[in-house]
Amino acid sequence: MRIYLDHNATAPLGPEVREAMLPFLGPPANPSSAHREGARARSALETARAEVAALVGAAPAEIVFTSGATEANNLALRGTAAGLGIVTTAIEHASVLETARAVGAPLSVVPVDREGRVDAGQVVAACDAATRLVSVGLANGEVGSLAPVAAITAGLRGNGVLVHSDAAQAAGRLPLDVAALGVDLLSLSAHKLGGPAGVGALWLRRGVALAAQTTGGSQERGRRAGTENVAAIVGFGVAAARARAELAANAAAAARLVERLWTGLRTRVPGVVRNGPADGPRLPNTLNVSFPGAAGESLLVLLDLAGVAVSLGSACAAGAAEPSHVLLAMGRDRDAARNGVRFSVGPSTTAADIDRVLELLPALVAQARGEAAA
C-alpha cells in the first residue's frame, strides 16, 4: 500500500468527482452548440462556474476557465501587463516568475525572509508609477508560507495598480474571499483540490480589462477561445463544492497530521530543520524539512522504494532536484536548497500513514547520510 504525501503536486481525483464527470465523457457536449446536446453541456458548464465562483466568494460571470493555474497565471500577466511594470516576489511559481521575466518591463522581484514570508510594505514600496500589476501568490506550495495579500491590496488601494494572486495552493486549504483579499485577479487549479488535472480558472474582477491570449472563438466571454473541456470543468465544479463544504474539517485534520509528523521527526531524527514559517499562519497541509548531511534526492528515492511518495521542493521537468529557487530566496545555500523534502498531506491521509513514515524515516535518513551500511 503506497502512502501518498505529495498533494501539493497533485491530489487524487475524488470518487464523486469522477462519477460526476463520466456522463460528459461520452455524449457530445459542446456548450456553444444550439441544440439540446449543447444546452446540456452549457448548463453543466454554468453550474460548475457557479461552484468555482462560490469557492472564492465571486460572481460566476467573473470566472474564466483555463487549462490550469499555469495558464491562468500566464493569462493574468500577459493579458493585463505585457510590456508594463510588474512587481512580484522571489518565491512565486515558475508560471508567474518566468512569465513576469518574459513580459514585465520593468520587473521588480521582492525578496522574502528566512521563513519564506513576504513583507507587504516591501511589495508596496516596490511599486512606482510604471507598475501595472502586482502578482503575489497567496500560499507557497513548497514551504507553506502565506503572503499578506490583503495588506498589499490595502496599501495599494486607489493608485491604479492591479493585484493578481496565484491561489492554486491555497484553494480548498484556506478560506478564500476575493472581496476580503481586495485582489483584481486570482488563479485557481482543479487538481490540487481533488479535481482533474488540465483545468483551472482565472477569476477577474468585473471591469478589469484583459487581452485574450487565445483568440478565435467567443467562449468564456471572448477571454479564452476554444471549446471548453466540459467533463473536466464539471469535475472542477464538484471538487470545488466539496472542498468548500469540507474546508474547515480538512484544514484542521491536515494541521493535526502535519503537527504529528513534525513532532515525530523532531524527536526521532537528529538535526532535522524545518523550512518555512515556524509559527503563525501557514498552509496547514505542508511540511518542508531538511536533514543536514542527507541528500534530498537520496531520501526521495529511499522513501519511494519504501512506498512513500514525497517531493523535493522544486523538481525540474526531468525530476532532478535543482536547487529550489524558493529555498535560495530564503537564504539557503545551494546544497541546502537541493535538500528540502516536502511532505504535503490531503483529505485521504491518515494518522497511520504519518506513523508509518515516522517509523521509516530515521533509518532512511541515516542511510542517506551514509551512516548505515546497506
Binding site: D304, L305, C316, A368
Partner: protein, 354 residues
Amino acid sequence: MSGGVDSAVAAAHALAAGHDVVGISLRLAAGGGSCCSLDDFHDARAVADRLGFPHYVFDLADDFERHVVRPFVAEYVAGRTPNPCARCNRHLKFGVLWERARALGARWLATGHYARIGTDPTTGRPYLRTAVDAAKDQTYFLFALGPADLAHTLFPVGDLTKAEVRAEAAALGLAVADKPESMEVCFVPGGDVAEFVERHAPAETLRPGVIVDETGRELGRHAGVHRFTVGQRRGLGLAVGSGSRRYVRALDAGTATVTVSDAAGLRARGLVAREVSWTSGAAPAPDTPLAVRIRHRHPPVRARLARADGADTTVLFEGDGPAVTPGQAAVFYRGDAVLGGGWIAAALAERGAN
C-alpha cells in the same frame, strides 16, 4: 542511464541476471550541449518503464562543474587538450553517483561502458580489460578505476559488439535500439570548444600570441593557445607556400606561443605522465614492455616503462613515435589488460629541438 542504447541494454542484462535494478540518469550540465537533455531522460525513463524498474534523475550539475567543466577550461587555457570523459567517469559516475547509489543500498553499479573486468589469478583482484568490440572499447576513459571501484562495477555490454547491443535492444522492443551515438563533448553546445572556453575562462587568461616554427621564426599570430591542440593541422591561419604541411607541435601558455613543425617534427620518442595509478597498486619494474594508448581511437603503441618514481612516469616508444598531446590520458596495456594510466604532462622530443 544516459538515454542511449548501451546503458539500456546494460540495465536489461542486470535485470536478467536477477538484480533488483534502479535506473539513474545524471543531469550534469545546466543548459546546452547534447548530453542529459530532456529527451535523453525521457528515453531512459521509457526504457525503465518498458523493462519494469524504477528510474530517477540525479542533479549533479554542481559536481560536474567543479570536477569536469572547470578543469576542462583550465586545461585549454594552460595549453593542454583535456579529456573530460575520463574525469567525469572518475569523479562523477564512479565517484559521486556511486556514493549516492551506495547510500540507497546498491551493491553494484552497472554502466553501459564497453569494457570488461577480469580477475587476477594470483591476487584475486579485479582489473580492467578491453571490450570484446575493439572498435568500441572505452577503457581509455576508465583507466582511473582501481580494484576498489571495479569490485562493485558491472560492464554488461563489454562482452558484446555494438551490433549485438542494438540487436538485443530491438529484440527487447526498446525505442533507443537505433538511436545515434553522441560524439562531441557533451556539455559544449554545438561542439565549438574555443567559444565555450572563451565564455568560461577569465578574460585575462586568454592571450593572443605568435605562431613560430621550430627555429623560433614567427609565421603568424593567433588568438589564444586554447584554440589549438597538438597535432592539429587545419585552422592555423598560416599562408601556404613553404611546401610542407605544418602541424601544431607544442603550446606554451606562459608565452602564448604556438610552435608548428612538419609531420616528422611531431613525433615524440616518449612521454611523461603524472597522477599515474597502477591497477596492481604498484608500478611495474623499469623496462617492462607494455603498450600505451595516448588518444581515444588511436591504437596502443608498443613502449617500455623507463622510469616510474615520485610524481613522474616516463615511457619510451618502440619504433616511430606518435604525436603526443599533453592533457590527454596515457593508458598502459598488456594484452587486453589495463595496467594503469595517468595524465600526459609532456612529450619527449624526438629531435634535439625544443
